[in-house]
């Protein structure tokens, strides 16, 4: 059977977290009643004009710097002309020939393999409104509704080279990009609300072929799962089509999550001629070096640099470093935990954050920003494990208690109040063991006759008597001495 190579490029629409729209002063907040956040400019009354929001430009600069791209000294807004009821002006203000960011790259990891995805460009544009075809109630009499609240929301469209070779790589890229735009604070990343939407350009070609196959573009994928499913389906469909003797026609397709299939929306023949031309209402966007440098100075340490530092300074594995840098909030939480627990306990901190805390957050469907336990509390708890004050199993109980939001401010407070310190004091344990041995001559005899199980039972008795506070290792040592 013939071998096929999959080629994928991704365009992502990232909604920028500015308070106001890109060309008007109305709010971008999500969820207002329809058309309440649409002013004269957004609804395109006769005579209104766009004025560029500098905040959106700053977001683009941040992104350009974060991916190592070139922030264009001069870029140009262009009009993309087409008619649609939720496009009030009859054109979208976008960037065409001269985008604000060129080039750059993003590193992704699939399994053990690291790969660099080259970016083509990123450009600023405005979002359209929404057409509502359902749920308008009987008064609508089957008509559609238009909500222009979203019209004019700033978007950064980020375009990759056709560098990805599998759905897994595409998803890894989308996840890395999603993490990055949140990391640098330009997007809230809320995929349900449409803040981060991907279009995937997918083609296949015979292995070893250097020319690209004809691509189909899957539009508007707003979850990583849909991205994966849509590409998987599309690839199977394209290969099957070609192997059946057919050919691929360039087309725009939609993914239907219910059926798990993609279907053509429009072919190349009915592709729009957008009649792009520079928007005469806006001057060319000029960004001077000083502005770029100012933004650079305010940029947080980027994920790749942070990972490397955690590997070098905290002794984390590459894998752990990648996990704790999934988001800026998580990385900050992890580092605050280490600050409280001590650098020598960094690996333990990473484990607690990645395993115990992650499980808890997952169960409660919370983000790290809403963690029920503060990094200082967790770090304090880990310090008590490290210095032997409590056992790991006891620590899990303290952790649960801290998470459950009682009045205790710290692990130390709970340990002291409930007397949970491990008993490592040999005298106290020796006295206890003597008592136990005297009371259980049968077990002692069993042990002496070679039954190792009896030894474990004796350790269990000691632990029970101390309500788990005895240091099990120490108990074992002392018992062996006695029974020696």
């Amino acid at each position: 059977m013939k071998q096929w190579e999959v080629v994928i490029g991704i365009e992502t629409h990232v909604q920028l977290s500015t308070r106001a729209k890109i060309f008007s002063g109305s709010s971008t907040a999500f969820g207002a009643a329809p058309n309440l956040q649409a002013n004269a400019v957004d609804i395109a009354l006769p005579g209104v004009l766009p004025v560029l929001n500098k905040g959106a430009v700053e977001c683009a600069i941040r992104f350009g710097l974060a991916i190592g791209g070139e922030v264009a000294a001069k870029s140009v807004f262009a009009r993309k002309n087409y008619f649609y009821p939720d496009l009030p002006k009859g054109y979208q203000i976008s960037q065409y020939e001269l985008p604000v960011v060129c080039g750059g790259s993003l590193s992704i990891q699939v399994g053990e393999t690291e790969k660099t995805i080259a970016l083509t460009r990123a450009h600023l544009e405005e979002d359209a409104g929404k057409s509502l075809h359902e749920g308008l109630g009987p008064a609508a009499q089957g008509r559609s509704g238009i909500d222009l609240n979203r019209a004019g929301t700033p978007l950064l469209e980020i375009v990759t080279e056709p560098d990805m070779r599998s759905a897994a790589e595409a998803v890894a890229y989308a996840r890395a990009l999603h993490a990055l735009v949140r990391w640098i604070g330009i997007c809230d990343g809320n995929m349900q609300e449409g803040s981060f939407r991907c279009d995937a350009n997918v083609s296949v070609r015979a292995a070893g072929e250097s020319r690209l196959g004809t691509r189909r573009e899957i539009k508007n994928l707003n979850s990583f799962r849909f991205l994966q499913q849509a590409i998987d389906y599309e690839v199977r469909w394209q290969i099957a089509t070609i192997e059946d003797g057919g050919s691929i026609e360039q087309a725009t397709v939609l993914f239907d999550p219910a059926s798990g299939e993609t279907r053509a929306m429009r072919s190349k023949e009915d592709a729009h001629d957008y009649r792009y031309f520079p928007d005469p209402d806006l001057l060319p966007l000029v960004i001077d070096r000083q502005w770029v440098e100012q933004v650079r100075a305010e940029l947080p340490e980027l994920p790749a640099a942070r990972r490397q530092r955690l590997i070098n300074e905290h002794g984390l594995s590459a894998y752990d470093a990648r996990i704790v840098t999934t988001s800026l909030d998580l990385a900050n939480y992890y580092e605050a935990t280490v600050a409280a627990a001590g650098r020598e306990n960094a690996k333990t901190c990473a484990n607690w954050v990645m395993v115990d805390l992650a499980a808890r957050l997952n169960r409660e469907d919370r983000e790290i920003g809403q963690s029920p336990i503060s990094a200082t509390q967790l770090g304090g708890l880990i310090a008590r494990i490290a210095d032997g004050t409590i056992s790991t199993s006891m620590a899990r109980k303290v952790f649960d208690e801290l998470c459950s939001g009682g009045d205790a401010a710290s692990a130390d407070e709970i340990i002291a109040r409930q007397g949970l310190q491990q008993i490592t004091d040999s005298d106290a344990l020796t006295a206890l063991i003597d008592e136990l041995l005297a009371a259980n001559p049968g077990m002692v005899a069993e042990f002496r006759s070679g039954k190792e199980k009896a030894f474990n039972a004796l350790v269990g008795q000691v632990m029970k008597a101390t309500r788990g506070q005895a240091n099990p290792q120490r108990v074992g040592e002392l018992l062996r001495q006695k029974l020696g």
Binding site: P46, G47, V48, L49, F83, P88, I146, R275, F277, D281
Partner: protein, 489 residues
């Protein structure tokens, strides 16, 4: 009263010789009497105007007076005015009551001027005769069977017939200057960016510029003082220090007030294409300027011959996009019956736009289309740069450029309506100025066969005050601009 300059009207109002209500009443009466034969106004709303006049009188009584407080001004119906029908001369907006004020309207409001009415215009400012208006053509007060020019023909006819002391217009390819010439008025198009375009319904955004239409250069200066200024709502508005455009007019001067002034005469303005009678009047004006002390120098504008062609690519291209918002979805005209969305678009636009607007949308759509963009749009932009360079070169040798405003006096209603190219050529002397973004003024320079002719003065960027002074000095020694059409007493 109706012959007083704006400055004198202002003095009469300030000294309470007349109230704004009385003055506004005089003009409303004249409009009621004379507008039916002229059709200069699309909307008149006496109650609303008189309410503004009363408020102005209160201001005058409190002594809070600015230059235009209490003076009624007519506005081209291209400017959005809050609570006023704002049609842009189109059926498409025949039901559009603006919920907001254009910056220009707001500035007049702030100064306490009275909004006297909205004037007729070519549909979406596309035309040179006011014949493409959905509301019917406007007649030229100098000869009712002739056009007033366009697209600001309603404003020009209103001021010429003394139905308003002054008016606003907009000029994309000559739409203030040409009607000024054809109606014996002074009309100025300032440097692109001097007056905010916010709320002025866009025809060709990179060329559109508002300006005054009045009975003298001095009146234009007062109107410009009100209209000009930076507006953060218009990204192409220029942030410059404020200036008094009338400042040079009041300076004392001897018998040769323009001594040292170098007037450039481009051969392209004095070749074929201009009627002999208009050329004769322009030559007489040149002689007058020499009397005032100016000297003339020949200059060249070699790329000017390409300006009409370049304009009729760039302006329709921008218009085709600017007019896309008129789709029947949110406001404006919507066809009464349609099968589906596409049908609604097609019918609403087919029924809502007139022939000239459709022609330009088609041209504009074509020149921006894939495969034609480079050959038309980009090529036209290159020509535009060449034209701007020509002017820059010319202004190294002269201070102001002089020539005719329009190649002929007012033509007959219907004479050119069927021949778009003939109509387009009536702006042959004005279009290059818009392509370069320069300021220019048209002033009356005499009559041929009882019809007025206009003299065009083009200045370098931001030389409005200088241009106004050059026009004013001419008007101090001539009385062409004081002539008024008979039959409009």
């Amino acid at each position: 009263m109706i012959e007083l300059s704006l400055a004198d009207i202002g003095r009469a109002l300030a000294s309470r010789e007349i109230s704004s209500v009385e003055l506004t009443g005089i003009y409303l009466d004249r409009i009621a009497r004379l507008n039916p034969q002229l059709n200069a106004f699309i909307t008149v709303d006496p109650e609303r105007s008189l309410a503004q006049a009363r408020a102005a009188d209160d201001r005058l009584a409190r002594g809070e007076t600015r230059a235009l407080t209490g003076i009624p001004i007519a506005h081209k119906d291209i400017f959005c005015a809050r609570d006023w029908l704002t049609t842009c001369g189109s059926k498409m907006l025949s039901n559009f009551v603006s919920p907001y004020d254009a910056t220009v309207i707001g500035r007049f409001r702030q100064d306490g001027a009275v909004l006297l009415g909205k004037t007729n215009m070519d549909e979406f400012a596309m035309g040179s005769s006011t014949e493409t208006s959905f509301y019917g053509p406007t007649a030229n007060p100098w000869a009712l069977d002739r056009v007033p020019g366009g697209s600001s023909g309603g404003s020009a006819a209103a001021v010429a017939a003394r139905l308003a002391p002054a008016a606003t217009g907009t000029d994309t390819g000559g739409s203030i200057r040409q009607p000024a010439a054809l109606c014996n008025l002074s009309g100025m198009k300032p440097t692109y960016g001097v007056i905010s375009r916010y709320g002025m319904i866009a025809f060709a955004s990179s060329l559109d510029q508002a300006g005054p239409l009045a009975r003298s250069a001095a009146d234009c200066a007062l109107l410009l003082n009100c209209m000009a200024g930076f507006d953060e709502r218009d990204s192409t508005s220029l942030d410059r220090p404020g200036e008094d455009f009338a400042r040079e007019l009041t300076a004392a001067a001897g018998s040769r007030p323009l001594a040292g002034l170098r007037i450039g005469l481009p051969q392209q303005f004095f070749g074929e294409g201009c009627s002999a009678e208009v050329m004769q009047l322009v030559d007489a004006a040149i002689a007058e300027y020499r009397q005032l002390g100016a000297e003339t120098v020949p200059v060249g504008l070699p790329s000017m011959d390409l300006s009409v062609a370049a304009y009729y690519v760039i302006a329709p291209a921008e218009a085709s996009s600017n007019l896309a918002r008129f789709d029947g979805v949110r406001y404006g005209y919507r066809a009464p019956a349609y099968a589906d969305l596409t049908d609604m678009y097609c019918k609403s636009r087919a029924q809502g736009f007139g022939a000239e607007v459709k022609r330009r949308i088609l041209i504009g759509t074509y020149v921006l289309s894939h495969g034609y963009y480079d050959a038309y749009y980009l090529q036209a932009q290159r020509i535009r740069r060449l034209i701007a360079n020509d002017f820059a070169e010319a202004f190294r040798q002269c201070d102001v450029i002089l020539g005719p405003t329009s190649p002929s006096t007012a033509f007959r209603l219907g004479e050119k309506a069927a021949d778009p190219v003939q109509m387009y050529l009536s702006d042959i002397y004005t279009i290059a100025v818009n392509l370069a973004g320069l300021p220019a003024i048209s002033i009356p320079c005499g009559f041929a066969g009882g019809l007025p002719a206009g003299l065009q003065l083009i200045g370098n960027y931001f030389r409005e005050a200088r241009l106004l002074n050059i026009a004013h000095r001419y008007q101090q020694v001539t009385d062409w601009h004081r002539q008024r059409p008979a039959g409009h007493a």
